[in-house]
Amino acid sequence: MDRETFDRLMLATLPAAQRFAVRLTGSPAAAEDLLHDALVRAASRWRTFRGAASFKAWFFQIVVNAFRDQLRRSGRGRETETLEDGALTGAATDPAAQVAGDEISAIVARHVSALPPRQREVLVLVAYEKLTPGEAARVLGISESSARASLHFARERLRRDLAPYLGDVRRERST
């Protein structure tokens, strides 16, 4: 692939990558930081893109690797910065109070971005980027069964944490 095509593909993928990074990190500022790292890496490795895989999958793989490196460097492997401060405390126990001050859409987003990193990566790729578990596994460099397991645990955890809101959704659907 020539440089110009690669450049064009990168600029076209950037908005999607930004959305992906915000979902992973939970914060636009942290996402910008993450994408900065990923873009610098992609620039130095552009020749390794053979065109066999989709460009988006190739670049998302770089974003995920940069995300893991950031977590490793900061020594905070479990939570993202904006979600470490007890922002979720009580969300599941007192949904009414939470909803009063916060939209349910933001609460769900916070819970997704607070999942353990591997579960978060798989869930975001499958639920929002519409990848199959097998494709997500290739992006993440893990086996498909491992991706399916992470997806299962992520959904289990969300079912548990968002249980009060799930009841509301069921009621909405039945009426």
Partner: protein
């Protein structure tokens, strides 16, 4: 579980569809595009000198190897005969031209420069000095829980000014304790510690923070502390960071973050 497809859970999927993350600032995309341009064009510029250097090095190696084969063959050794003298081959490294690379950025030059000698106090920044141990009551800050309470006051906008005033009034501010808090698991407290360090940043504190930046040890928090510091040297360091393409966006995002908190 692993090989079965995940059963559909419509209410959960419905909730996931509703999730909304904080909006992306359009300026962020412009900044990232600029980052991409800078990063993608740089290797192109480096390609020529790097290629030339590699070719020159390969030619030089081939020439040295050829000369060695023609003139400098080592004496063979007879299995049962007397041992010959061991001759060490000397490779004239200076004959091999050094490769040309890009010039280091000011940031790279600084981080490979040995650290400037610090005053003795810098190694134990908050070493107790008995003759200057006047502290406002309730702000000894030697215990972890005191520091934690202090940082909570800094986080809280209604108590921040008082907390920082008390800190400035201390003869022997607890710089070590605050530096340690740059690793606090709570992001607000980490940045509160950075905010507080900015209030007490003497030249030796600036040097410690700069070393943290250079070694990528809590770099974001150290940068945050430097942005709050009024020492001229901190400004000079930040100017270097600002000129470094690999760090500039990090500094900008740290500044945004500090603005959000304080």
């Amino acid at each position: 579980m692993n090989d079965r497809p995940e059963p559909p859970d419509e209410p959960l999927d419905e909730l996931l569809r509703r999730a909304e993350w904080p909006a992306i600032d359009p300026a962020a995309e412009r900044r990232l595009r600029r980052t991409w341009r800078q990063a993608f064009e740089r290797p192109q510029r480096l390609l020529w000198p790097a290629g030339l250097a590699a070719a020159a090095a390969a030619l030089a190696c081939a020439a040295v190897a050829g000369w060695w084969v023609m003139h400098g063959r080592a004496p063979g050794r007879v299995a049962n005969g007397p041992r010959g003298l061991e001759v060490q081959t000397v490779v004239a490294l200076d004959l091999i031209p050094r490769g040309e690379t890009r010039k280091p950025t000011p940031f790279e030059r600084l981080i490979v420069t040995p650290p400037r000698p610090l005053p003795a106090a810098a190694t134990t920044l908050s070493a107790p000095s008995p003759e200057r141990s006047v502290k406002p009551p309730g702000l000894a800050l030697r215990k972890a829980e005191d520091v934690s309470r202090f940082l909570e006051r800094v986080v809280d906008a209604s108590t921040r000014a008082d907390a920082l005033r008390e800190l400035r009034g201390m003869d022997d501010p607890p710089v070590d304790a605050l530096l340690a808090q740059l690793n606090n698991p709570h992001v607000e407290r980490r940045f509160a510690a950075a905010r507080a360090l900015g209030e007490v940043c003497r030249p030796e504190v600036v040097e410690v923070l700069w070393r943290m930046v250079a070694r990528d040890v809590h770099r974001r928090e150290a940068l945050a502390a430097l942005t709050q510091c009024h020492e001229p040297q901190a400004g000079r360091y930040l100017a270097i960071v600002n000129d470094d393409p690999s760090l500039e966006s990090q500094l900008r995002s740290v500044r945004d973050q500090m603005k959000r908190y304080f």
